[in-house]
């Protein structure tokens, strides 16, 4: 067990920061392995849990939050197991992906009920503080059933934050939010992370993770594929070979010109145009227009062929 003391920048320096540990955690359903031997340690700050849909992110989050028993391995919060241990919820908050709220309550009633269930000394003040934090004060007395998806999401975040937990787990928190709400939620997560809270949020969208967190855990097919600083991983992603389909007014002449370009590692001439392999995404996409212009060739289409997240992730696994 490791407990890292919050630094002087922490909002509540009297409460020590919490560490969530996963040691060799696997989870399977019958023959299907959803999470495969994952070991990670989450400390203060914001961490992104990145991976394509079906990678096991939600299963992993559920095990962290004590809503699923690991088939093997252990999930502990400050040394205590999270499974069958409701006491961990004093330090842990969860915003699940499923958009389940008591539609018949108002946001204030909902967050207040959470504060009361946490037995907070001043539930009303805690509820107001949490609602202010997510900027829901204006709509707090309306029934949750009348809210937009983003408002419901913020209400759920307020309820999860009402007891000021050391650890906050969020499953796809940006789903259904408009750009302004996203920015606001990102800023909130940043603030909480800077204040010494351990924040983990899952996402299948690279850009979301890039904007919020410096540290990422990448999951692919149930395994932890990469772990660490986002910029390093991003570099791995951008420097991988890219495949483009190019169609132009003169494919053969363009192929000759492209093969002389250093960023291009291979060109294939087919009936439907060119298939170009480039070692450097940025350098190639900058060079192509110049080369075409110099040769008087018009490029009709340029399509990246392997831009799906799955291909990015599988490249990461291979590297």
């Amino acid at each position: 067990m490791t407990t890292i003391s919050a630094g002087p920048q922490a909002a509540a320096p009297t409460t020590p920061a919490s560490t969530l540990d996963l040691a060799g955690v696997s989870r399977w359903y019958g023959n299907v392995v959803a999470v495969n031997d994952v070991t990670m340690r989450l400390g203060p700050g914001v961490t992104g849990l990145l991976g394509p849909n079906g990678a096991g992110k939600t299963t992993l989050l559920h095990m962290m939050a004590g809503f699923l028993a690991p088939s093997r391995g252990a999930v502990t919060l400050d040394g205590e197991p999270t499974w069958r241990n409701p006491d961990v919820y004093r330090r842990l908050g969860l915003v699940s992906e499923r958009e389940a709220v008591h539609a018949f309550l108002s946001a204030y009633e909902f967050v207040l009920a959470s504060a009361k269930l946490h037995r907070l000394p001043d539930p009303a003040a805690a509820a107001r503080r949490a609602i202010d934090l997510v900027e829901m004060a204006d709509a707090q007395d309306r029934r949750i059933g009348t809210y937009s998806k983003g408002m419901r999401q913020r209400t759920r975040v307020a309820a999860a934050l009402v007891h000021d937990p050391q650890v906050l787990l969020l499953d796809e928190p940006f789903n259904g939010m408009d750009p302004r709400q996203r920015l606001h939620m990102m800023a909130l997560l940043h603030r909480l992370g800077d204040a010494g809270r351990t924040i983990l949020f899952s996402s299948h969208i690279l850009e979301e993770v890039e904007q919020v967190s410096g540290t990422v855990q990448v999951m692919v097919a149930g395994r932890l594929a990469a772990s660490g600083d986002y910029r390093t991983i991003r570099r791995l992603m951008t420097n991988r070979p890219h495949v483009f389909a190019v169609r132009s007014t003169d494919d053969r002449a363009l192929a000759v010109a492209l093969i002389a370009e250093p960023s291009v590692t291979g060109v294939e001439l087919g009936r439907d145009g060119l298939t170009v392999r480039a070692g450097d995404y940025g350098a190639f996409t900058r060079a192509l227009p110049k080369i075409a212009l110099a040769r008087g060739i018009r490029v009709r289409s340029l399509t990246p062929e392997d831009e799906s997240l799955e291909s990015v992730f599988s490249y990461l696994v291979g590297s």
């Binding site: 359903y29 939600t58 389940a100």
Partner: protein, 236 residues
Amino acid sequence: MSTVSWITARGLFGRRRFLLLLPLPALLLVLAIVSRSLGVDPGQWGPPVLVGLGLAVVLPVVALIVGTGVLGAEIDDGTVVHILTKPLPRWQIVLPKLAVATGVSAATVAVPLYVAGVLADSVRLGLGLAAASALGALAYSALFLVLSLLTRRPVLLGLVYVLIWEGLLGRFVDGTKVLSIQQWVIAIADRIAPTELLGTTVSVPVAAVLTALVAIGSTILAIDRLRSFSVAGETS
């Protein structure tokens, strides 16, 4: 009122299926009032209305709707996670929910049964039916509450128990009556207000002990199951 019971009650009355509770007790009342006002012999209308409708249908069906609603509905729509992510010992979640389920079922069923009992025979029979059906509401509620933690189809399984086990087998296979909450309720009501209108082969001590066993056993099992509550895996 605890926060858990407050949310449970709001959830119960806020859902449309609560309206399902009203027609059956109303039918029971109407039949009793009409039979009495038409001067029909209570020996003729008493057993089918009090037992056939009241104890065999209204009580278990109302308890089924409410008992599976207090927790099962929250599990179905996922809102149960909000209550479970709190540092509450699980008995502090199960007991308030059981109390709300029992209270609502008992109030919904005992009042019309009391009136029907008074109309059929006496205030004593009314009170006997009301008290016994309240005990029955407790046993049924505990059973249906734990069913919603053991299976994803608690309403279906509950209906199978009520209709097939108590209704069908109870009528033709005498031995099954020993394990029928409906028969225990009849035995207890008959003990409080002995009358020709109620009759069962189950003895009162057996009925009392088994009612307590089902209520307590189901509750303990529900608390334990809730401690191990798993969110269904969404990753495949």
